[in-house]
């Protein structure tokens, strides 16, 4: 098959397991995000793909060829590091031409490539500058250009934007996605920022504790989280425990709600997004009762915490910004639940 195949990769540091039984198939040209909390093994997985670290066991195949034991410098993958790792003693142009120079490209070819790559990352005319003369965002672009100089088969990025401020980071995310689409290059981006993953990825690989929790397109992973961890990690989610009382009818603390795909019987947990809940003064056939514990205006919307007797955590409800007043703390409310938006977790 054409693309990257990861087969049962395990990685242990002494007694500590960093990755366990990771398998993943990636078609050429896809943009993948390895997403997860710090320490989940996402960076280790990327470093194993880059050849900077050896897997304890398992296999990596590229277009059907086993590259597990190919050293990093012979894989020809482009990589951007969290610290960017630009060579401080070289100019911008020399940094970008580094890979070409060590492969013996002529000065003219190097120069032309540097021009092309700097234009590609929208940073023309800085080839002769020193790295220290560039801003953080410009260094980012130089690091990307340097990694792309080889026209690599795989483009690997290890949290490259964590040092940028929020606004610049968002602009760079969009630009990175455009660049990837333009070049059609298979890309792995490691991040702990779910918004970054949602912006850029074709496929999100959500990891935790050295295990892949779910692999799915961003919207799919948001709408249909595979388990409680995924639901909680991606966006805000209310995880509510309920008990089936009759087919499709679920008793929850403070009321009874209708969830069509609830299990036949017994206790289970479902996840529901804050924006899929609504607040009303009257109950209906799918609602539960609580009191407003806290409300905050976020500009683009209002976030209301509702305390429900019998639930450990407040239920979070997101309301549109123009929602009328009446959100005083302590006020009794009914939270209406649309069963179609609930995801049953197993």
């Amino acid at each position: 098959m054409s693309g990257l195949a990861i087969r049962k990769i395990n990685k242990a540091y002494g007694p500590i397991t960093a990755l366990s039984n990771i398998s993943l198939d990636v078609e050429n040209g896809k943009f993948l995000c390895l997403l997860g909390p710090s320490g989940c093994g996402k960076s280790t997985l990327l470093r194993i793909i880059a050849g900077l670290e050896d897997a304890t066991n398992g296999q990596i195949l590229l277009d059907g060829r086993d590259i597990t034991n190919v050293p990093a410098h012979m894989r020809d993958f482009g990589m951007v590091f969290q610290s960017l790792a630009l060579f401080p003693h070289l100019s911008v142009g020399e940094n970008i031409a580094f890979a070409l120079r060590i492969r013996g490209a002529s000065k003219d070819v190097q120069k032309a490539e540097v021009q092309r790559l700097l234009a590609l990352v929208h940073l023309p005319g800085v080839a002769d500058r020193s790295i220290t003369q560039l801003s953080g965002g410009q260094r980012q672009r130089v690091a990307i250009a340097r990694a792309l100089a080889l026209k690599p088969k795989l483009f690997l990025l290890d949290e490259p934007m964590s040092a940028l401020d929020a606004k610049l980071r968002e602009a760079m995310q969009v630009e990175l996605k455009r660049l990837q689409q333009e070049l059609g290059i298979t890309t792995f981006l490691v991040t702990h920022d779910q918004k970054e993953a949602m912006t850029t990825a074709d496929l999100v690989v959500l990891m935790s504790g050295g295990v892949i929790q779910q692999v799915a397109p961003p919207l799919e992973i948001y709408r249909n989280p595979a388990n409680a961890f995924v639901a909680d990690f991606i966006g805000a989610a209310n995880l509510i425990g309920g008990r089936v009382v009759s087919p499709g009818r679920v008793s929850v603390p403070g009321g009874t709600v209708t969830i069509s795909d609830a299990p036949a019987s017994g206790a289970f947990t479902f996840s529901v997004r804050p924006e899929d809940l609504a607040l009303h003064d009257e109950a209906n056939d799918s609602s539960f009762f609580g009191h407003i514990a806290f409300a905050r205006h976020l500009g683009s919307g209002i976030e209301v915490n509702v305390a429900v007797e019998g639930m450990e955590k407040d239920v979070v409800v997101a309301l549109p910004s123009r929602h009328e007043s009446g959100l005083a703390v302590g006020r009794p409310v009914h939270v209406r639940v649309n069963g179609a938006t609930c995801v049953v977790l197993r």
Partner: protein, 283 residues
């Protein structure tokens, strides 16, 4: 940077103490020495009041020029050997496990705690015919009969490199340990082999560090005084040895002073040249 000078005298207060110390303990003694060097030697060890450049003229003889050459030859040689060993050593040390690093650093610090004369005599014994390593070489069948390697140039260089080496590592270690480890990984993902990365990225990146460390070693070795007497032959004696010989044995303080002033000036000129060289290389 704020380069404006203080407007009131009180603004200069913080630098008064260092300034006074510098004048009292450096400018005045050095001035005295320059003055002494321009006096004629009298038999009492005190000098007359007429000023003369005779001491400096005496320096221009082939003997003292040879001495100067030997001194700087030794210093350059030792500095070069020490850094050629110390740089890869520090590089490997930085990448070694923490416990290994600590063990080595403690060992190097304990070398520094030894006085130069103890180190010198230890090397002298180690390289001697009766108790030295040549006996071991005979034992393993490497040579036929025990030989003495001291006194001699090789023994001298070994001894001085041994004392200079810990300084080199202690200067290089903190600098190398601050280098972003991802830089080497970046070079590797761009297609450089591990060995190529060392020579193609790590060394060029540390050019200034290497020049600075080299200079420090050079100055350190120029002042070496005991080792040449313990491990070297008279032709290996450095200016420092001759200065002390002139001052203490020959009681010719003015000439010793002239030699010392000469050493300071030549050292200064060489430092400037090397720094310029380092700068040019960088551009």
């Amino acid at each position: 940077m704020n380069a404006s000078s203080p407007r009131t005298i009180a603004g200069y207060l913080p630098i008064i103490l260092p300034a006074v110390l510098l004048v009292v303990f450096f400018v005045v003694p050095f001035g005295t020495m320059v003055l002494t060097s321009c006096h004629e030697n009298s038999s009492f060890g005190a000098s007359e009041t007429t000023l003369t450049l005779a001491n400096y003229q005496r320096l221009l003889s082939p003997f003292f020029m040879g001495l100067l050459l030997a001194t700087f030859g030794l210093a350059f040689g030792v500095a070069a050997i020490a850094i050629v060993i110390a740089f890869p050593f520090s590089y490997l040390l930085v990448n070694a496990p923490r416990a290994t690093q600590i063990c080595w650093l403690i060992f190097l610090l304990s070398i520094l705690s030894l006085s130069e004369s103890i180190t010198g005599f230890a090397w002298s014994t180690l390289l001697s015919r009766t108790a030295g390593i040549s006996n071991f070489l005979v034992f393993i069948g490497f040579i036929d009969k025990p030989a003495s390697y001291t006194p001699g140039l090789a023994a001298l260089v070994a001894g001085v490199v041994y004392t200079a080496f810990p300084y080199a590592v202690l200067v290089l270690y903190p600098i190398l340990s601050r280098v972003d480890p991802h830089i080497e990984e970046a070079a590797r993902t761009l297609g450089m082999s591990p060995l190529g990365t060392f020579f193609g990225v790590v060394l060029p990146m540390q050019r200034n560090t290497i020049v600075t460390t080299f200079l420090m070693l050079l100055v350190f070795t120029l002042g070496t005084y005991l080792m040449p007497q313990i491990l070297g032959r008279p032709q290996h004696w450095t200016l420092s040895v001759v200065i002390s010989d002139q001052a203490l044995v020959q009681s010719n303080i003015p000439f010793a002073a002239a030699l010392a002033v000469f050493l300071v000036i030549v050292t200064f000129l060489i430092l400037i040249t090397v720094v310029q060289f380092g700068r040019k290389e960088r551009a």
